[in-house]
């Protein structure tokens, strides 16, 4: 069958991770080579999935694992949203793997890092393509456990503390999600998402569905660090090695949190006005709290972590609007934020690599020594805070227009104000780290190797040209992703018709 290659999304990283675990200790650089190979293969595969989707009539195809028909067998579902997320995740993972080649020199036991990295990649890919809730849960746990271990990778006291905090909160979130799945199973007698949506549409929506919504909102909200549940993120993301911080902030919280939340709420449970309003409210609170807390931070990575909370707030807010324009804005902002935040975290790693500190007050005037890092950080900061013509401006513009269109003027005003605050703290970051006179306290500044600048330059180029995704000739990439969410409950119909096809 010509679709069999899709199994590689799960198999390739798992097998290569096990291979790294077996041979990594003896063969030097094996982990790096295997993870780069894995990233390349999966990048290629995700573009092939995108191409295949363009040829199928309803922009959805189902891979039946082992040939068993859903709802009894495991189905892997590829629709516009999955292919959008697959391309984003695998592309960023490839760049991060490339970056970690020299950065990881500061750590011992590099093969363990690459092994966990590939497990995390397998978990994220599996979560994106799974078509039933329990498979989603299993891959969510695979990715999370690898994430906890990677946060603790430095094994300094602070790393362990952050990892413990993250692990406890993450495990509780996973148990909430599992309890929600168990309750839904008791109500619908099925685990397949499309089948579940079908059964839920025929039954009355009782208190049980509302309770399950609350469980899922808490569980996925914890994973995506919405504000009442955000306490772990500012500790966990700075403690991890820089490539992993980039991956965690760039794609991890979006896959495990935002993607899973959107998939479950829009396609399975069906959106209700109450759920949408709660998402909108929590999104706005995250936006404001994240931005306010980011201002006073001195640690670069901690500031970027708070900024992630704020920007994920934008995405959740735009999803909560529920209008087609809002969903387009949410997905486009997800894309732009993933690109820019990965770039900024990789740059923070480069600063730490060359000066051995992350404290903004001890830095200064780095522009003369690290021009590439300085200019790409400038682009990333401007893109996230929404300065034209960079990608972040267009996505924020769409989100604000969608809010105005839906009649939420106060929320739109808050979004604009938060955007200005964001610009403020990114300019502060630029001023303290790169501009001004070179701080004499810095004894030695190491040059940054090429393998650490190339990924950042690629990301900067993408964030400059990402507005092209809104143009008609590239429209399928975002549009088919949006349509998957806008279709909402029609997901089940397209699922069943795709099986017959």
């Amino acid at each position: 069958m010509r679709q069999d290659f899709v199994l590689l999304f799960i198999i390739a990283p798992l097998f290569l991770a096990v291979g790294t675990a077996l041979l990594g200790r003896t063969v030097k650089q094996l982990g790096f080579m295997l993870s780069c190979a894995c990233g390349l293969i999966l990048c290629f595969c995700s573009f092939m999935v995108f191409g295949l989707l363009q040829k199928t009539p309803a922009h959805i195809f189902i891979y039946k694992v082992g040939g068993h028909l859903p709802p009894f067998g495991i189905a892997l579902v590829f629709d516009g949203l999955s292919s959008f997320m697959l391309i984003l995740v695998n592309f960023i993972s490839l760049l991060v793997a490339l970056y970690s080649f020299r950065y990881m020199d500061r750590y011992t036991d590099k093969w363990k890092f690459y092994c966990l990295f590939m497990f995390m990649l397998a978990g994220m890919n599996g979560l994106i393509i799974s078509g039933d809730l329990f498979t989603l849960y299993v891959f969510l746990e695979v990715a999370s456990v690898a994430g906890y271990a990677l946060v603790a990778f430095g094994t300094e006291a602070e790393d362990l503390e952050a990892a413990f905090k993250y692990a406890v909160m993450g495990v509780v979130a996973s148990i909430f999600i599992l309890l929600g799945i168990a309750l839904l199973y008791s109500y619908t007698s099925t685990l397949n998402m499309a089948d579940m949506a079908f059964v839920l549409a025929t039954k009355p929506q009782g208190a049980l569905v509302a309770f399950v919504s609350v469980l899922f909102l808490a569980g996925f909200g914890l994973k995506s660090a919405m504000v009442p549940f955000h306490a772990w993120l500012p500790d966990a993301h700075p403690s991890a090695p820089a490539p992993i911080s980039a991956l965690l902030s760039g794609v991890f919280i979006k896959t495990l949190g935002v993607y899973a939340l959107a998939r479950v709420f829009f396609n399975v449970l069906g959106v209700s006005q109450k759920a949408l309003f709660i998402m909108m409210f929590l999104g706005t609170v995250s936006m404001v709290v994240g931005a306010v807390l980011a201002i006073s931070q001195r640690d670069i990575k901690r500031m970027l972590a708070y900024s992630s909370i704020s920007q994920v707030g934008y995405i959740i807010f735009a999803l909560g609007l529920g209008t087609p324009l809002g969903i387009l804005g949410a997905l486009f902002h997800l894309f732009n934020h993933a690109i820019s935040k990965t770039m900024l975290f990789l740059n923070s790693g480069a600063i730490e690599y060359s000066t051995d500190t992350r404290n903004m007050e001890k830095l200064g005037g780095l522009n003369s020594r690290l021009p590439v890092t300085g200019s790409t950080s400038f682009i990333g900061g401007l893109s996230i805070s929404g300065v034209p013509p960079l990608g972040g401006f267009w996505s924020k513009l769409i989100i604000i227009l969608a809010a105005v269109q839906a009649g939420h003027f106060i929320f739109a005003l808050i979004a604009v104000l938060v955007s200005i605050v964001t610009l403020g703290y990114y300019l502060k970051f630029q001023r303290f780290v790169f501009l001004g006179k070179l701080n004499l306290g810095l004894s030695k500044i190491r040059g940054i190797p090429l393998s650490m600048t190339i990924p950042v330059v690629i990301l900067a180029a993408i964030s400059i040209v990402s507005v092209l995704l809104l143009m008609p000739f590239a429209g399928h990439f975002l549009d088919s992703a949006c349509n998957a969410l806008i279709a909402g409950n029609l997901y089940k119909d397209s699922f069943w018709s795709a099986i017959i096809w």
């Binding site: 906890y148 413990f164 509780v172 996973s174 148990i175 309890l179 168990a182 199973y185 685990l191 500012p234």
Partner: protein, 112 residues
């Protein structure tokens, strides 16, 4: 119905342990209790009174059988919870080496 409520009570006991206890080992045990509660809930969901295993055979008809799916699900979640508990315990041991305490209120070098 009572038995489902008891599962929920067990879940709440575990949640109480995670939220209120100061010793990190007790927090890990609380997480274990929550996992057991959900596993128990899943098993109870699939249970039928005097049901039997749903194995197909040509010479007899099985009328009352237990639901096998939750059992398969629980097997998987047990393995997952083993992994998470192991990781948490490993981190707890390393934390004890660094901080010389299990008290969560004394483990606070990170701030803000």
């Amino acid at each position: 119905m009572v038995i489902y409520m008891l599962c929920f009570v067990l879940f709440c006991i575990g949640l109480y342990g995670v939220l209120r206890k100061r010793n990190i080992i007790k927090i890990i045990i609380g997480i274990g209790i929550m996992e057991y509660a959900v596993n128990l809930f899943l098993i109870v969901l699939g249970y039928r009174v005097r049901g039997r295993a749903p194995i197909f055979s040509s010479d007899q008809q099985v009328l009352n059988m237990v639901d096998p799916l939750p059992q398969a699900v629980v097997l998987t979640t047990i393995v997952i919870s083993l992994a998470t508990t192991l990781l948490l315990a490993a981190i707890a041991i390393r934390i004890y080496e660094k901080y010389k305490t299990f008290d969560i209120t004394k483990i606070k070098r990170l701030r803000g």
